[in-house]
């Protein structure tokens, strides 16, 4: 800590206070607020809501979409990160730029894209219709848009780690007789595991919280294509405010837990990087 930085204790006090007020008003107070508001009607309302079949279905749907998104983005994330760092080829910077695209798009735009591709009269609509596969207004499109939005997380975490670590350990592994797969699983993967875990945690949080894109592609079929977030949206619009608050509180609780995991992983990752 710099000795010369604000030695004036009063000024430090003001700066600190400003920060605490900012974070407090924007985050802490509303968080407390929702706990109070959701629990106000009484515990029985909470349990009733959480037992409703619509709610259970919504939570299940969110869980399924999140799980698929996490697995797909983790797997392909490792592949893409590997290709970007370890291979040189024409078009590599273009590929790199593509990874950042999802961050530049509003989720509604993503939903719109899915509509253009799979919706009525869409580019790929006839292909799937003729095979009797329902994409739009059903699980597949909701999963696809979520995956799209989550693509960058794992890749952006793994790439810098792969770059920093370099090739030496992998070369050494090969000279000791390990095959390419053995080298990957025994040497490379352990070196990127915290970065991968951190990326997965971020993906999980993002997938659970997705609303903009699924709002457009789900068709909002209650009990069929409603995720937890969509349930909250519809419930609020239909004036089922207590139910909306309860499910919102549940998601908030899950998020806070995820947050703790994310913080832990972030620290682990930083410790790893200082080891190299």
């Amino acid at each position: 800590m710099s000795v010369v930085a604000t030695p004036n204790v009063r000024r430090r006090g003001w700066l600190l206070a400003a920060c605490l007020v900012w974070v407090g008003v924007l985050l802490l107070v509303p968080l407390v607020g929702i706990v109070i508001t959701a629990l106000e009607p009484g515990i029985h309302v909470v349990t009733q809501t959480l037992r409703a079949p619509d709610v259970i279905h919504a939570l299940e749907l969110t869980a399924v979409i999140t799980a698929i998104s996490v697995v797909v983005t983790a797997l392909f994330g490792v592949v893409v990160a590997w290709v970007l760092v370890r291979q040189r080829f024409w078009g590599r910077s273009l590929l790199n730029a593509t990874v950042d695209l999802p961050f530049a798009l509003s989720p509604v735009t993503v939903g719109l894209a899915a509509l253009v591709l799979f919706g009525p009269g869409g580019w790929l609509a006839s292909f799937f219709e003729s095979r009797g596969i329902q994409i739009i207004f059903a699980l597949p499109s909701m999963t696809l848009v979520t995956i799209f939005i989550c693509v960058p997380f794992t890749i952006r975490e793994i790439v810098p780690v792969l770059e920093e670590i370099g090739l030496d350990e992998e070369d050494a592994s090969r000279t000791l007789g390990a095959s390419v797969w053995q080298t990957f699983f025994r040497v490379t993967l352990p070196n990127i595991r915290w970065a991968l875990a951190y990326g997965v945690a971020l993906t999980t949080a993002r997938a659970i919280g997705e609303i903009g894109a699924v709002l457009i592609v789900s068709g909002l079929l209650q009990g069929k294509t409603e995720t937890a977030t969509l349930f909250i949206f519809r419930a609020y619009e239909e004036r089922q405010v207590p139910a909306a608050y309860v499910v919102a509180l549940l998601l908030a609780a899950v998020s806070v837990t995820l947050l703790v995991v994310i913080e832990f992983l972030r620290h682990r990752q930083e410790r790893e990087r200082s080891r190299t």
Partner: protein, 358 residues
């Protein structure tokens, strides 16, 4: 277990740049051969090609009468020690050393015994459960060596193994590697830019420069009978004096230096004389020179001499021979063991950095 390494016509091109050109030599079985050269001479590339970490553009590599040129790294069974250790950071010392055995699916008890054996060999037994980040540089390199030796490779390749270490640690490890090699007798190929290291450790030295082999020989041969101006200048310090070839001698000013019989009459030539081969003469000697500076280095002194025709000569003279000599005095010196080379277009660039090397 030991086999010679035969390398023929090895060439490596990166795009239009040729890093290694037509390298041929044989590393004798059971001996330490050093690949010596400045950075950028291609020596590491040669080593990596032998290991299989790089594909040659042309040439062959043969070990144990087996052509290895197209074999994968794993199939070659070479032990490789990296300059920056390349220890697996997530494994303990013991796990690192046992890795080569683990991937070959060796039985656990056999593996553990072998790991222990090697850790004892490198005196790292007490550190078996430590992680690389907890070790010093010298310790890490010893573990790297144990790891490379564990799967009983047929040759050992070392890529500037001590380059990243302090001078003192380097010397200790150098001595220790020497002893280890005597004990194990594995054919070893050592890449280094440190000529002292090569001269001390190697049974045979391959001097490389700009991708080509300059000379292959024993340390004595390389030092006393350099085949090219580069070798003369790179290995051991050298003075470079310039003159003309007349009747089998190099004429430098008023003096004549023998040993130019193999050079063309009338050609420009350079004579290489080592500082310790400049002896204070009893009597007239080869040439008279003016003492410019005397710097005492302990039991000998480094003397800067100005020759009559203007060139500078650096001499390493025992202090006993310099009694009463001060700056400005004229003394007579003999130039012993001169090596004569033609001055041509390839050597002119070498002249520049070599004459600065004393």
């Amino acid at each position: 277990m030991s086999t010679p390494i035969v390398v023929e016509g090895l060439t490596k091109r990166f795009g239009s740049f040729e890093a290694v050109t037509d390298v041929t030599f044989t590393a004798p079985a059971g001996a330490i051969t050093a690949l010596l050269g400045p950075s950028g001479s291609g020596k590491s590339t040669v080593l990596r090609m032998i290991a299989g970490l790089e594909e040659p553009s042309a040439g062959r590599i043969v070990m144990d009468d087996e052509e290895l040129t197209v074999k994968s790294v794993q199939e070659r069974r070479v032990g490789f020690v990296f300059q920056h250790y390349a220890l697996f950071r997530h494994m303990t010392v013991a796990e690192n050393v046992g890795f080569g055995l683990r991937v070959r699916k060796q039985d656990k008890t056999v593996r553990e015994a072998r790991v222990r054996e090697l850790l004892e060999l490198v005196h790292m037994e007490p550190f078996a459960d430590r992680y690389p980040e907890q070790l010093s540089g010298g310790q890490r390199q010893r573990v790297a060596l144990a790891r490379a030796l564990a799967p009983a490779p047929r040759v050992l390749l070392l890529d500037e193994p001590f380059g990243a270490l302090d001078a003192k640690v380097r010397q200790d490890l150098r001595r220790w590697l020497d002893e280890l090699h005597r004990e194990l007798g594995v054919t070893s190929l050592l890449v280094t830019h440190d000529q002292e290291e090569a001269l001390e450790l190697a049974n045979q030295i391959v001097v490389m420069h700009e991708g080509r082999v300059e000379q292959v020989g024993s340390p004595g041969e390389i030092y006393d009978r350099p085949a090219t101006p580069f070798v003369a200048g790179f290995v051991g310090a050298a003075n470079v004096l310039h003159g003309e070839v007349v009747g089998g001698h190099i004429h430098l000013g008023s003096i004549r230096i023998p040993g130019a019989a193999h050079l063309d009459e009338g050609a420009s030539a350079a004579a290489f004389v080592r500082p310790h081969d400049v002896r204070v003469a009893s009597g007239d000697g080869d040439v008279a020179a003016v003492v410019e500076r005397v710097a005492s280095l302990g039991w000998l002194s480094r003397v800067s001499l100005k020759l009559p025709w203007g060139e500078t000569l650096i001499a390493h003279v025992p202090n006993d021979d310099l009694v009463g000599v001060v700056e400005g005095d004229t003394i007579h010196v003999d130039l012993r063991n001169p090596k004569a080379f033609l001055v041509g277009s390839e050597t002119s660039t070498e002249r520049a950095d070599v004459s600065a090397r004393t």
